[in-house]
């Protein structure tokens, strides 16, 4: 063994004797090059000055991707306007009790089926039982938004988990999870929704310590159907990212699977996830409205936007305000969320340049 590993001294001598590349010791072009360049371990004065003038002179502020994304988003006017509208609507929904002029089930028997009027603050009119319609729409927005956000969060969690695990591990795991996803996708949506809604019933149910209120039930049904698209998208991103060298580098520095999935790959697909999530919110609002309209969603007297329209359409055009106001609000929310999704997609796409 000794002779396979010469001592350092001996090697140093060899170095002097045998010219590998040049006439002296081992220096090749590389050493000459290295000598000519001011080595960074001992920065020369000139190099320091350079750095300083760079810092004080040209203001080249380094921006993170998030800063760039924010700038791009705020250049998207429609998205910003939508964001303002949505924030206003959300604030109204959150503080519904304080904002609404009346309680949602408060009867005003002097004003039954009144069209929109300034009298007694019935700005949206009253319904056939004399309840203030503005208050009912506000409460309806609250219910519908709550369901939509619940659906979006839940289906994003499910979809991301499925997609991440399937995409990262691949092979059999991927096959199993994705075939299950396909199965959910092939279910006829409306039929399943109606059946499930009918099966779960229209009143609150008690599962042990957990109370399933109506909005939660509707949310669960919708989330069960809505996570598939996201699962496919996340899987796709994971499939391409797991081959990247930075994942291999993370592995080589000892990171485990969970750490790589959550800390290294997931932040790289936050863009598609956020965009898909906003689109799920929009869809959820619409589908929840449809479900409530058909009488399988939120049940009266709890107002939801869909069931308000359903109640209002009985009288046809005579009571136009009963259909119009919740309808307009639904369209407004869905549009706003879609535009925000659009803006986010553009903002989070790093290949998009900021145009001056």
């Amino acid at each position: 063994m000794t002779d396979r590993m010469p001592s350092t001294d001996q090697r140093a001598e060899d170095r002097e004797e045998v010219g590998v590349f040049g006439t002296g010791s081992r220096p090749a072009a590389a050493r000459a090059g290295a000598g000519a360049i001011a080595l960074p371990e001992e920065p020369s004065g000139a190099a320091m000055d350079l750095t300083l003038s760079y810092e004080s002179g040209v203001e080249l502020k380094a921006r993170s991707q998030w800063a760039y994304a924010r700038i791009r988003f705020f250049r998207h006017r429609l998205a910003v306007a939508s964001l303002v509208v949505l924030i206003l609507i959300s604030l109204v929904a959150i503080f519904a009790e304080r904002v609404a002029p009346y309680g949602y089930d408060e009867l005003d028997l002097n004003n039954i089926a009144s069209p929109p009027t300034l009298k007694d603050h019935h700005w949206f009119g009253t319904d056939l039982l004399g309840r203030d319609y503005l208050s009912r729409v506000i409460m309806g927005v609250r219910t519908s938004l709550w369901v939509a956000v619940f659906v979006a969060v839940l289906s994003t969690l499910i979809g991301t988990a499925f997609g991440a695990v399937a995409g990262y591990y691949g092979g059999t795991v991927d096959n199993l999870l994705m075939r299950f996803t396909d199965l959910i996708l092939t279910l006829p949506g409306l039929a399943v929704l109606l059946t499930a809604a009918a099966y779960l019933g229209s009143s609150d149910s008690q599962f042990g310590p957990i109370t399933l209120t109506q909005p939660i039930k509707v949310g669960l049904i919708l989330a069960f159907l809505f996570w598939t698209g996201l699962a496919r998208i996340v899987r796709g991103v994971f499939l391409s990212l797991r081959e990247k060298e930075f994942v291999e580098a993370a592995k080589a520095s000892g990171a485990g699977d969970m750490r790589i999935i959550i800390r290294h790959i997931l932040p790289n697909c936050i863009g598609p996830i956020v965009v898909t999530m906003t689109l799920i919110i929009a869809t959820a609002i619409l589908v929840e409205a449809a479900l409530s309209f058909l009488g399988f969603g939120i049940q009266p007297p709890n107002p939801a936007l869909g069931s308000l329209i359903a109640d209002g359409q009985v009288q046809g055009f005579e009571t136009w305000w009963l259909v119009t106001f919740p309808g307009v609000v639904i369209v407004l929310i869905a549009l706003a969320v879609n535009f925000i999704g659009d803006g986010l997609r553009d903002a989070l796409d790093p290949t998009q340049r900021i145009r001056a």
């Binding site: 590993m5 590998v20 090749a28 380094a62 291999e248 592995k251 000892g254």
Partner: protein, 346 residues
């Protein structure tokens, strides 16, 4: 004589592909001693990277398969370790520097956080403040200027050379005993390469790690390596200290490599390429894999039928060559190139 810190014995790795079995690495053995730099050279597809990646469990299995062999790190076989054990070794006592710093850093994490993570994975108790302090020290060791400010920057704010410095800082974060550098300069331009060589020296001084330097750049080998393993077609064809390999190679492939190299110390009218193509690892030529390209073997039957074993030469057999006619080559070599240059034809 110290014990080898890493000892690879008879490592054989295959990949199953649609076209057949790729014999990526066959019966590869070498030792790595503490503090030394071992160069592994060979063409693309000669198995240099696979031989190292498979040790750390970084090749995909399947399609990859480790058929036989041992990789003893301080006497413990890396190949039979559990996933958890090997994970503790990876990035801890055995760390890697990757080829392309452009893609090896996560674009959404700051440089500092990525290096700090490497520390915290292996020392879970380290506080963020301590990790930050250590990372800044490491960035200074590898020559990243204004490390304090650079800590919070993202990879896209770093140039290629700076990123490779950051990668090296990450690899030495846990004071590794073995540092595996997989073509650390290939993706960089020449002036930066020279700097990275210095950084690697600094890194080695800081940690006293033994380095396995995988490259096809013979200049880099000459600059950094103490000993050299020459690989061809998935096998080790020659092994010796860097002076022996450069000055008196005993394998026709190494001779060919040397004469295809532009050198400053010699008058060369033309560079002499090795004729032919590297062998397909799906269907290797019988006998010595190099024989179809070998000027030396032309016509000799034994080259086509028998795989030449590695045989020892020099004092105590420290210089290994897998050529049936190594003695003859040495004789011819010395007679034609008395200066000790590696060009058999000059």
């Amino acid at each position: 004589m110290p014990d080898p810190v890493l000892s690879v014995q008879g490592l054989t790795v295959e990949f199953k592909t649609e076209d057949g079995i790729v014999h990526a690495v066959t019966d590869v053995s070498y030792d790595l001693f503490p503090g030394e730099t071992l160069g592994v050279v060979g063409e693309s597809g000669s198995g240099k990277s696979v031989s190292v990646m498979s040790m750390l469990g970084l090749i995909p299995i399947p399609p990859g398969k480790i058929l036989s062999g041992q990789a003893l790190y301080k006497g413990r076989d890396l190949l039979t370790m559990s996933k958890k054990e090997i994970r503790e070794i990876r990035g801890g006592q055995v760390a890697m520097i990757f080829q392309d710093p452009m893609t090896s850093l996560n674009p959404v994490l700051t440089i500092g956080d990525q290096i700090a993570e490497a520390i915290q994975v292996h020392h879970p108790g380290t506080s963020d403040a301590d990790a930050r302090k250590r990372v800044i020290h490491l960035l200074e060791v590898v020559g990243v200027p204004s490390a304090e400010r650079r800590y919070d920057q993202y990879p896209h704010e770093f140039s290629g050379g700076m990123r490779q410095r950051a990668m090296i800082a990450m690899s030495i974060a846990n004071d590794p005993q073995v540092l595996i550098a997989d073509e650390p300069t290939t993706a960089l331009d020449v002036t930066i390469q020279a700097q990275i060589i210095e950084v690697m020296r600094a890194a080695q001084q800081e940690t006293h790690a033994a380095i396995v330097l995988i490259t096809h750049d013979l200049g880099l080998i000459a600059e950094l390596a103490d000993r050299v393993v020459v690989m061809y077609g998935g096998r080790v064809v020659e092994l010796g200290d860097v002076y022996t390999i450069f000055n008196s190679p005993r394998h026709p492939y190494t001779v060919g490599l040397m004469s295809s190299l532009a050198r400053l110390d010699m008058d060369q009218e033309w560079l002499k390429p090795i004729p032919g193509q590297p062998p397909s690892l799906l269907n290797r030529p019988p006998g010595c894999s190099f024989h179809p390209r070998c000027e030396f073997s032309q016509g000799r039957a034994i080259c086509r039928t028998e795989i030449p074993p590695l045989r020892g030469f020099g004092e105590g057999g420290a210089h290994l060559s897998a050529c049936h006619f190594a003695e003859e080559l040495a004789a011819q070599h010395v007679s034609t190139a008395p200066v000790g240059a590696g060009d058999a034809s000059s």
